[in-house]
């Protein structure tokens, strides 16, 4: 499982490349640099490998964090409320980036969010969890059109 933290949690003393290489301990040393460069390039960060996190924009930092999570070759990528602390405009542009990312990688992405609009915008499949209990799992439009119970209506504030 690849983990992307809400604050990205990039290692501030390492370059973007260093952050990704650090997560490649499972690969032979000789391969790490090239593989990390390749990953960063796929994230659209070619040319920024030697920047430190503080010298990158929020969106770029997030992409480095995703690249670092992908470096473990995970079977699932978990994004823990990646947009929670952002203003509306940044959020919108990051949504676009995430859609592009989803198209670029094959790893399924699990996005945790409290924002129904965000979930509706981004998800193929929406899983509504309330107090630790899964209430419904379906494509977003189905959940919104035909919620399976009062509890979902209340959890999603649909009334």
């Amino acid at each position: 499982m690849g983990l992307v933290f809400q604050s990205y949690a990039l290692f501030p003393h390492m370059t973007a490349l260093g952050n990704v290489v650090a997560a490649m301990g499972h690969r032979p040393r000789a391969e790490r640099q090239a593989a990390a460069r390749d990953l960063l390039a796929r994230m659209g960060l070619a040319g920024l490998e030697d920047r430190r996190p503080a010298q990158l924009s929020g969106g770029q930092q997030q992409r480095v964090a995703v690249a670092r999570a992908l470096a473990r070759e995970p079977r699932v990528l978990l994004l823990d409320e990646p947009f929670a602390a952002l203003d509306r405009r940044t959020r919108r542009s990051l949504h676009a980036e995430l859609r592009a990312l989803r198209a670029a990688i094959r790893v399924p992405i699990l996005l945790v969010t409290h924002d129904l609009d965000e979930a509706r915008d981004l998800a193929d499949l929406l899983c509504v969890i309330d107090q630790g209990e899964t209430l419904q799992t379906a494509p977003p439009h189905e959940v919104l059109a035909a919620p399976t119970g009062d509890r979902i209506r209340r959890a999603l504030d649909l009334d």
Binding site: L3, F5, Y8, A9, F11, P12, H13, A23, R72
Partner: protein, 221 residues
């Protein structure tokens, strides 16, 4: 200028710093990360040398590892000389006295590292040892160095404890601050002044260094 005393002080300070480096990093990190019962008590104990009169500390150390104590007797049996009034005894006392000077800045700098950075490092497959070595130490080094510089300077100037457990044996336990006292007692103010100025300069240098370092706290993401 009492060169043997000056050299002894430098040797003592260097040895103290050498012992406190691993000890301070270990304890400082532990105190920064762990939350446990009795933490406040340990924190208070570690800070005690800051407020305790050096003579009181020296007294307890004399009793604690004097020749009549179990520790003192074990030392005597193993090495054939007493622990008090020896360089080793002095080093032991010096390490204890300097614990707060070394640990507190180190602990602060480990506390300044955001917790999710440790989690992210673990999630990136780094072993706890690698997390310490590759993530935490590079971020905490200004605090670690500050602790060492403060301990070094403080050891050079320590008087009360050194006199209590070391006496004033030339070449063995007579440090520069005790030599200054001896010179003043003998009305040799010229010698006392040179040595005092030397210590003053070194203390200023150490504080300046510590201050410059504290401006370089770990950068945040």
């Amino acid at each position: 200028m009492d060169w043997p005393a000056f050299a002894l002080s430098l040797r003592l300070a260097a040895a103290t710093v050498l012992v406190l480096l691993p000890l301070g990093v270990l304890v400082g990190r532990w105190m920064a990360v762990r939350r446990f019962r009795g933490r406040a008590v340990i924190e208070a104990l570690l800070a005690l040398p800051l407020v305790l009169p050096p003579t009181v500390l020296g007294y307890f150390l004399l009793v604690g590892f004097g020749n009549a104590s179990p520790l003192g007797q074990a030392w005597m049996a193993a090495l054939g000389h007493s622990l008090v009034f020896s360089f080793e005894g002095l080093l032991f006392a010096s390490v204890l006295v300097n614990l707060p000077f070394a640990i507190q800045p180190m602990q602060r700098s480990f506390e300044a590292i955001p917790g999710d950075l440790r989690e992210a490092a673990a999630a990136s497959g780094l072993s706890p040892w690698q997390v310490l070595w590759r993530i935490e130490l590079p971020l905490a080094w200004p605090g670690i160095l500050t602790g060492l510089v403060l301990s070094f300077a403080h050891t050079l100037g320590e008087f009360g404890v050194v006199l209590m457990v070391g006496g004033s044996i030339p070449g063995e336990t007579r440090t520069i601050s005790i030599a200054i006292y001896d010179r003043v007692q003998a009305f040799d103010f010229a010698a006392a002044e040179i040595m005092s100025l030397t210590l003053l300069a070194m203390s200023l240098l150490a504080l300046g260094l510590a201050h410059a370092l504290s401006g370089r706290v770990a950068p945040r993401v």
